[in-house]
Subunit: 332 residues, 2 copies
DNA sequence: GTGAAAGCGCTAACAT
DNA sequence: ATGTTAGCGCTTTCAC
């Protein structure tokens, strides 16, 4: 392994000078700088970031906690984060936790052990305890799924997304609706509230519960859709699925039942995954600015890392937007 | 920050003993071990992996180079790798390169600078030079997309996948076929060769070129499909798309043209992404054992890391398998 | 079984 | 502008 010491010896300068050159300090003569760089290239020197970190400089490492990378929505964010981090000279280390609290904890500890400069957090439930844990460890952190009073956050208010879908359904003249998804989602709350505020009793909205981790099999979903269609056939005219993947399953289930979308039932999803516009019919959905989320999360984290005086947590809100496609085009 | 030194002082033992306890050395009295652990917990000590790495032990860090994480196939592999690495006490640091040679190089250098124990490589084109570069740097490496004579590899022979589709098409009585995808894919070679070997002149296979990075817009694909259907309408009865995402786009394009699948045209994809069975009609496709690939890649890499005597590169082959679904069910 | 001490590769005062 | 030196937190001989 080639070290700075080697470079120093070959270049006939001191270790400190080599370090200065490599870190772009101005106080080095053009001459010596040239010499040093010459040997750096000749010997194909590569810094040891562990050592450099140990000695006081930053690790340029960011840890990211994901709840479920199989969700294309998070995947999009990861891709964006990696790109932005790379652009800014940071590396990304990941952990996919499936929401398991112990894995989250352990990952945070590993991150700390690796001297990360900061962490990016994907949290779905209330994790005040976790945040306090991180805060107490003095690790800069940014949440990119939930707003927080404790740490910086970049997030999209899901309730608004739910409200957008509700409004769209109302605009299209729907009155009897169903929701397929997790019961504890803010988008459901937003959806129902908006209906209530517009003269539709949310009590009448059929709710088909699907667990958050998508662990419900296709078979199971089909079965429930079948139940729904056999009993409520003529009532329901619009279905809101809590994410696109589920929406596509639902679409499949409907189509297998001979129920046409959007002619018989309108269907809307959530997330705007790339496939949502490629399927047939293309899916009406709610988009979240994933690129912005990923980019901003990294940006804010790094800003936070580089500031010495502690400013209060910043909460950036990025609005969701409705994307109307064919799956809801038909008015009843 | 709590360090080993702190633990040593509180426990009234030497630094060395603390290190021994923490690394599970047997030569420590039960008594002292207890004392040390007591303080480790009391002070919430966490190791500094940078320091530990510097001082001689391993970094337990694995670098992974991906060409395109937006491809669900790679995503599946990443998820698996993260899980396996976590299970074995390793962390994963990633880079998404889009095949850009300079980013690949730079990432390898960053990995080296971070003292990774090894790297996992996703390479699509010939990268002998890169591998020699890595070899010369003495970094253990495993390729998980291409076989290699220089480094260990876990891979699925794509030609066989292509051949499986060809055989399936033949079984279903098809004779006029088309391929949508990158021209340089081994799966295309396998597809064509198998046809030739079975009395179908591969010259007659229509090839619609789509670039590897999926940069072709939906519009463009639709346009080309339209060209195909207007000129060859009555000829082509089966289409092989080089990956599921493209297949779904093609399906969409066909359906928009009023062409039914599988009644008018059979369609097969490649990769078995989770959505392929959720769309309508469910897509016939070729599966690759992504779980195995991700798991084995990590496993082999770690095996290689831990062995001192250099064994020759090992090439593990995992067979692709055909998954017949509705999109090809109809015999002409 | 335990401790002292050297040193991993680097940065950052501190001198000069 | 440049060199010397003292660590950063840990592992690992080497003594005892």
């Amino acid at each position: 392994m080639v070290t700075m010491k080697d470079i120093a010896e070959y270049s006939k300068v001191s270790l400190a000078t080599v370090s200065r050159v490599l870190n772009g300090s101005s106080n080095v003569s053009v001459e010596k700088r040239k010499q040093v760089m010459e040997w750096v290239h000749r010997l194909d020197y590569n810094i040891n970031i562990s050592a450099s970190g140990l000695a006081g400089s930053s690790s340029s490492l960011i840890g990211v906690i994901f709840s479920d990378l199989a969700n294309p929505f998070f995947m999009d964010i990861l891709i964006q984060m990696e790109e932005e981090a790379y652009r800014l000279g940071y590396s990304i280390i990941i952990s996919n936790t499936h929401g398991q609290k112990n894995k989250i904890r352990e990952s945070i500890n590993t991150f700390e052990a690796r001297q990360v400069d900061g962490v990016l957090l994907c949290i779905d439930s209330d994790e005040t305890a976790l945040m306090q844990y991180i805060l107490q460890k003095n690790i800069p952190a940014v949440s990119f799924t939930q707003p927080s009073e404790l740490i910086d956050s970049v997030y999209t208010p899901m309730e608004k997304g739910g409200a957008l879908v509700a409004q769209h359904f109302l605009d299209m003249g729907h009155e009897k609706m169903a929701y397929v998804g997790d019961k504890n989602e803010p988008k459901l709350t937003g959806f129902l509230n908006h209906l209530n505020q517009n003269g539709i009793d949310s009590e009448n909205v059929n709710i088909i519960e699907v667990d958050k981790w998508g662990n419900l099999s296709n078979y199971e979903i089909t079965k429930r859709i079948r139940e729904l269609t056999s009993t409520k056939k003529d009532e329901i005219t619009a279905v809101f699925a809590f994410n696109d993947v589920t929406a596509i399953q639902v679409m499949q289930a409907f189509q297998d039942e001979g129920i046409r979308i959007p002619e018989d039932i309108a269907l809307a999803g959530f997330d705007n995954i790339s496939l949502s516009r490629k399927i047939s019919p293309p899916l009406t959905t709610v988009g979240q600015p994933t690129k912005e989320i990923g980019r901003l999360a990294v940006e804010i984290l790094i800003k936070r890392i580089n500031q010495e005086n502690i400013a209060p947590p910043e909460a950036i809100t990025l609005e969701p937007y409705l994307i109307v496609r064919k799956s809801t085009r038909q008015t009843k």
